[in-house]
């Protein structure tokens, strides 16, 4: 009997809750159910397809908040290992010198906010949530050189130059008091993988609500198949590459003989 008591009690509570909820819905002037979610957001597309003609794309993020506050959006690419190399001068020419690897580096990183970030969140909170490219924590691999900070800065700087890390905080704009929207641009060289789109609702410097939506960026079509095939069946790919070249060469040889 004792073993049964607990689930039974739980069931009773659940039933009571359902009853209250049902009454609320039925009652006149009841608050809508979505009041329970102060933040809802979605993307215009959940899949970015890199096709043969891909030149970069913009994804629209939109949503609504309940009860005011500030919205911060963070888009993170899949974590990767990155190597930063430093050029050194050797006998007048620039050669690759020291290198440093970092683990857990987002392949892509973008932040958008409805207001100046510093006005919304205090430093420690930003650090905890990793909001802002300068707040990211990378794990170092191997020995730490003396000038680790230089390498770390260079990593972010290079990512920015490639257009993979936002140069400045993007604008999240409000339409009225509740609806917001922002656009995230993914350049042509955007890395593939599963991205995380984090939407935060901040009130008085603290996270009031948060939502995470996945965004998949993948190669689709001929390009994707070629890439996959080249890595999966490398030997057959090599042979096909040779056959294409041989037949193209023969074709040309025969075609232009007549002219």
């Amino acid at each position: 009997m004792k073993a049964l008591a607990k689930p039974l009690a739980l069931a009773m509570v659940l039933m009571a809750a359902a009853l209250v909820w049902g009454l609320q819905l039925a009652g006149p002037g009841a608050t809508p159910a979505r009041a329970a979610a102060p933040l809802v957001a979605d993307l215009s597309q959940h899949l970015v397809a890199i096709t043969t003609g891909f030149t970069g794309t913009e994804v629209l993020l939109f949503g609504a908040i309940e009860g005011g506050g500030d919205v911060v959006v963070v888009v993170r690419g899949p974590n990767r290992r990155e190597t930063v190399r430093r050029k050194t001068r050797l006998a007048g020419i620039w050669v690759n010198g020291a290198e440093m690897s970092f683990e857990g580096v987002p392949a892509f990183y973008w932040v958008g906010a409805s207001r100046d970030l510093d006005a919304i969140i205090a430093g420690p909170v930003r650090l905890r949530h990793g909001i802002g490219a300068d707040q990211l924590r990378f794990k170092t691999v191997g020995e730490k050189p003396v000038d680790l900070a230089q390498f770390r800065k260079a990593l972010v700087r290079n990512k920015r130059r490639l257009g993979l890390y936002g140069r400045e905080v993007g604008k999240v704009s409000f339409l009225g008091l509740r609806l917001f929207r922002t656009r995230v641009y993914f350049p042509a060289n955007v890395p593939t993988g599963t991205y995380k789109v984090e939407v935060y609702l901040f009130r008085d410097g603290a996270v009031a609500s948060a939502q995470t939506t996945p965004l998949i960026i993948s190669k689709i079509g001929l390009g994707a198949e070629v890439y996959d095939f080249a890595h999966r069946e490398a030997a057959i790919y090599g042979i096909i590459a040779i056959i294409i070249a041989l037949s193209a060469g023969l074709l040309v040889g025969v075609l232009f003989r007549k002219i």
């Binding site: 043969t52 990155e82 007048g92 042509a188 090599g238 040779i242 070249a245 041989l246 003989r257 002219i259």
Partner: protein, 305 residues
């Protein structure tokens, strides 16, 4: 119109690629050279990773050489026996070259070695061609003539002598083997057919008659570059078939136009012109190596030179 290159992982204008292929094809038709030694640096200049540029060029040269060798074969200008010996050396050399390539890529110095190899070879060849061109022009003007016939040197006397009937030679097989091996390495690391090294070596070192030189070298180049393509695809996955096909299309058209113009200009002027182009590409590479980079730090995917 942009096209996404699946292996190079970048988006490039298809017209830029067709234009590059066409321009280099035009030059190769005009001068009767392979063009790999111009195309690879140009691809690097437009941002294709050197590792991909080199491996893809090897693939494109297979096609270019096949179409060339057909014509020479028909005229009977291919010494298959000599070609086979060169090829044996070439296969070994290109195998070693691809191994070296992977090693350099692993330690992050591949880009540098590719650039340096180009500077050295383009520099030497450009200068030699320019000097030769100027000298011939002057000689023609002064009316002096005379050309040395091929001489026997001590290298020809090495062991393992073979008779090459078509080339009218009886020389040590080690010599063409060595030439083939060296050119094979260049092919793997620089993404060239190696004609610009092999043709002079065949004429001056082996003493082959000029008429069979081009056909025989093309014959060897087909198989060596095919071998490089295969090994690069297997070990490094850096052969971009799409890039190769687009370059090829431009190259074919360019080469046909180029070969039509080649009869209209005097040979010495042509050679001088090519020399200037080669030297210009070489200087650009030197410039890139010597000037202070915009950012001393750069990202490299692990294991990518």
């Amino acid at each position: 119109m942009q096209i996404y290159l699946p292996i190079a992982e970048m988006s490039v204008s298809v017209f830029l690629l067709l234009g590059l292929g066409g321009a280099v094809g035009f030059l190769s038709g005009l001068f009767g050279v392979g063009g790999g030694f111009l195309m690879t640096p140009l691809l690097i200049f437009i941002g294709v990773p050197p590792a991909v540029a080199v491996a893809t060029e090897a693939n494109q040269i297979v096609a270019a050489s096949v179409s060339g060798v057909v014509a020479h074969w028909r005229r009977g200008n291919v010494d298959f026996r000599m070609g086979a010996v060169l090829l044996a050396g070439g296969l070994a050399g290109s195998g070693f070259g691809v191994w070296l390539y992977s090693l350099l890529r692993g330690i992050g110095q591949l880009d540098l070695v590719i650039a340096l190899a180009y500077v050295v070879f383009l520099g030497i060849i450009g200068t030699l061609m320019l000097v030769e061109s100027v000298r011939t022009t002057l000689r023609l003007r002064h009316g002096a003539g005379g050309r040395k016939l091929h001489q026997h040197i001590w290298l020809h006397g090495l062991p393992f002598k073979l008779r090459f009937r078509k080339s009218k030679l009886y020389i040590s097989a080690l010599l063409p083997l060595g030439v083939g091996f060296f050119v094979g390495i260049l092919s793997a690391i620089m993404g060239v057919g190696g004609g610009f090294v092999m043709v002079p070596a065949m004429i001056y070192l082996l003493g082959m008659p000029t008429i069979v030189v081009v056909g025989t070298s093309l014959f060897q180049i087909i198989f060596v570059t095919a071998n490089v393509t295969f090994l690069q695809a297997v070990t490094n996955q850096t052969v971009d078939v799409l890039l190769a096909v687009v370059l090829l299309t431009g190259g074919v058209i360019g080469a046909q136009i180029g070969s039509r113009y080649s009869g209209r200009l005097p040979a010495e002027h042509l050679r001088g012109l090519l020399a200037l182009i080669v030297i210009a590409v070489c200087l650009k590479l030197v410039f890139d190596l010597v000037t202070v980079p915009d950012d001393l730090y750069f990202l490299g995917r692990p294991g990518v030179g």
